[in-house]
Every structure is written in C-alpha cells, then in structure tokens.
Subunit: 194 residues, 2 copies
Amino acid sequence: MKKSDKHQKILNAAIKVFGQKGFFNARISDIAKEADVADGTIYLYFNNKYDILLTLFEEEIGKLITEIRAAISQKSDQREMLYIFALHHLRLVIEKKELAEVLQMELRQSGESIKEYRRTKFADYVNIISEIIRTGQENNIIRRDLKPGIIKRAFFGALDEMSRLWILNPSHKYTVEESAEAISDIFLNGIVAD
Amino acid sequence: MKKSDKHQKILNAAIKVFGQKGFFNARISDIAKEADVADGTIYLYFNNKYDILLTLFEEEIGKLITEIRAAISQKSDQREMLYIFALHHLRLVIEKKELAEVLQMELRQSGESIKEYRRTKFADYVNIISEIIRTGQENNIIRRDLKPGIIKRAFFGALDEMSRLWILNPSHKYTVEESAEAISDIFLNGIVAD
DNA sequence: AGCATAAATGAATGGATATTCATTTGATAT
DNA sequence: ATATCAAATGAATATCCATTCATTTATGCT
C-alpha cells in the first residue's frame, strides 16, 4: 500500500465525518474508525486535527478548480459560461454531498487560518466568475456599469444559498439543471416583467 | 436590577464572544467575564451553552423580522421593497457586526436543532423576500415565469455573500448603499448589455 | 532465514472546560 | 434588628478527547 493511499483514505474518512458531525463534534477516533486505521496512524500523515481540515480544503478545492476550468474552456460565450459554472457548482452538491457540507459549514468558521484560506485558494475558485464577467464586458456582452467584484459575490452567493437548501433538505424540490438555468437566467435577464 | 436585564446582558456578552471566537472556541467563563457575572450565574438564566445560542437566534432574529417588516411596509412598489430589504440586511452587518458574525457562522453549523432552526424562524426572515416577489408577480411587476422560491434563495444568497465579504475583510471596498443598489439592480434588470 | 528499518497500533496521559452546588451576599418584610 | 427567601458566586468535579509513545507488526534487503 502506497503512502498516498492512506493519506487519501484518511482524508475521505474526514470528509465523511466532518460532513456529518461538523469539525468540532468530530472525534479523531471517528475518523480513524471510518478510515479503518488506528487513532495514532492519523498522526503519521497529519500534524493535528486542524491540519486535516486545511489539507482537505487545499486538495479538494484544487480539484474543483481544475474541473470547472476545463468545462468552461469548452464554451466561447460568457453567458453560457455562467450557466456551466452554475451547473458544475450545483452538481457538486449532489455528487459529493459530504464534501459540499464540509465546505458549506467549515469555510465559514472563524479562526485566522480559515479566514486566510478563504482569501487565497477559495478566492481562486470564486474568481473564475469575475474573470468570466470581465471578459464578457470586454466583448460587450455584459453591462459595463456593473462591478465584476459585486456580480461575482452575488452570483456565487446565489448558488451557495441554493446548495444550502439541498444540504439541509435533501428532497430536491428543483432539479440541478432547472436551478442552474433559473439562476443564470435571473442574473442575465433580471426579474422585472417586460 | 430586573431579571430581564441580566438575561439580556448575558446574551449581549454571548453575541460578542461567539462573534469573535465562534461557538465552540468560546468558553462560558469568557461570556461570564464579558457580562461581568460569575460563571454559575449564567446557569440561572440558561440551561446550557447551546441554549444560549438558540435563545440568541430566537430573540435577535425576531427583532430583525419586526424591524424589516416595518421598513418595507412604508413602500408600495415591490422593486423598492427589494432595495429596502437589501439595505436593511447589509446595514445590519455594519451596525451589529458581532451579531452578523454569529448568524453567518453558527447558523451554518450542523446539529439537528440548528437545522431545525433554519427551517423555522430563520425561514420566516427569508420568506419576506418571497412574499415581496409573489405580490410583485400578482401586480405584473415581476416576471411570472420565475419561481419565488428560487428568486428568494438567489437574492438572499447574494446579500449573504456580500455580508461575508465585509465580515472577513472589514475595509469596505463598497458602501452599503452602493452594494444594496447594485444587487437589487442586478436582480431587477439583469447583467446582459442592452 | 535473519537483520534492519519503516509503518502501524491503541492504551495511557494531560489539558481543557462545561456544569454543579455548598456557601455567601443581597433584598424584603415584620 | 432579625428572619426568610432569592440571587449570585466561584472553587471543585467529572467528562471528554486530542495527542503521545512504548510496543508490535510488516516490509525489504543480503
């Protein structure tokens, strides 16, 4: 068994346990049991409990960024790109429920390292949106009087709140496609009649 | 000193301490010191640490709902109402920073009581938005093909993410009015050029 | 096989802190 | 002034759990 195997095995267990109980209520022994290793083994791969959480952010968000960039690069119209971003983001919640829960919950926690984290790696993820907006403005597809920084927040926030609905109440009232479409439609066209 | 005085005093201390350190890192003795009472006194007013948090949600969100309803009832156009909602919500972050931090952080935590909480009292707050939307649709001001449930999420999520920016990075790049205007503008008119 | 090194184990430790409760302090009435 | 009751105190308790490390088990090399 390669070293990386056990590293990932523990991380996957942590995603599951953190997702279910939250970071503070999760015990190291829970993660150990889930990963099928001894408690002490975890400390051969991670410095402490908090380090597990940070590593999890680092590596898993990295994967998300890669995936979503690949999907977006297929499109040339910025309006479509926004839809694709929404679709991918919302799909994550369905397909990797526990990871989504961890990100939802723990990325909001106080604590300097987490705040720092949001400012760097996580910001990279959200900044994909503002890049799309900026390019759209250059191409005259998107209104130039709006600040990309605000649109980015608003669009991401909308998706994030939608995710929360599903996480709290897994009986999907709306489908992923429907939601992604509705949200990009609202942003592109607004809600005012006529 | 009336009973209610000390009750509120402890609650205010809790808002401050939870806001700064988060629920799990806050010690009862921190709250006691901040409220200027003995540790044991807290247990005369609350059953346990968690009860402080739940009471805090219950009472403070109740106040918010009352305030925001009062402000909205001054307007008759649903477009203006949305702006007012945004303005009030964002002002909260500036004027009651610690409370906003607590709500941001802890309302996301796992734990059944908190999830339950979001489904009830907090939902009442957010549902003010869907009421506005529904009335707007009846008055033909807002597109009828959009589901109020989705608009509500999207609009609230946008505001919530904006709040988060300020909480994490208190150097306000945008003013409250500017942000409230930009966000309601985006929702009302969309971001597409022309 | 026998040695050496690395990986894994899990019981024991130590530190933290929510909660309790015996005692003190303050208020009210007679 | 004294008795009675309520409110407040804060040191002591009990529990919980992250982390350590002496010991065991697995792996690789000659």
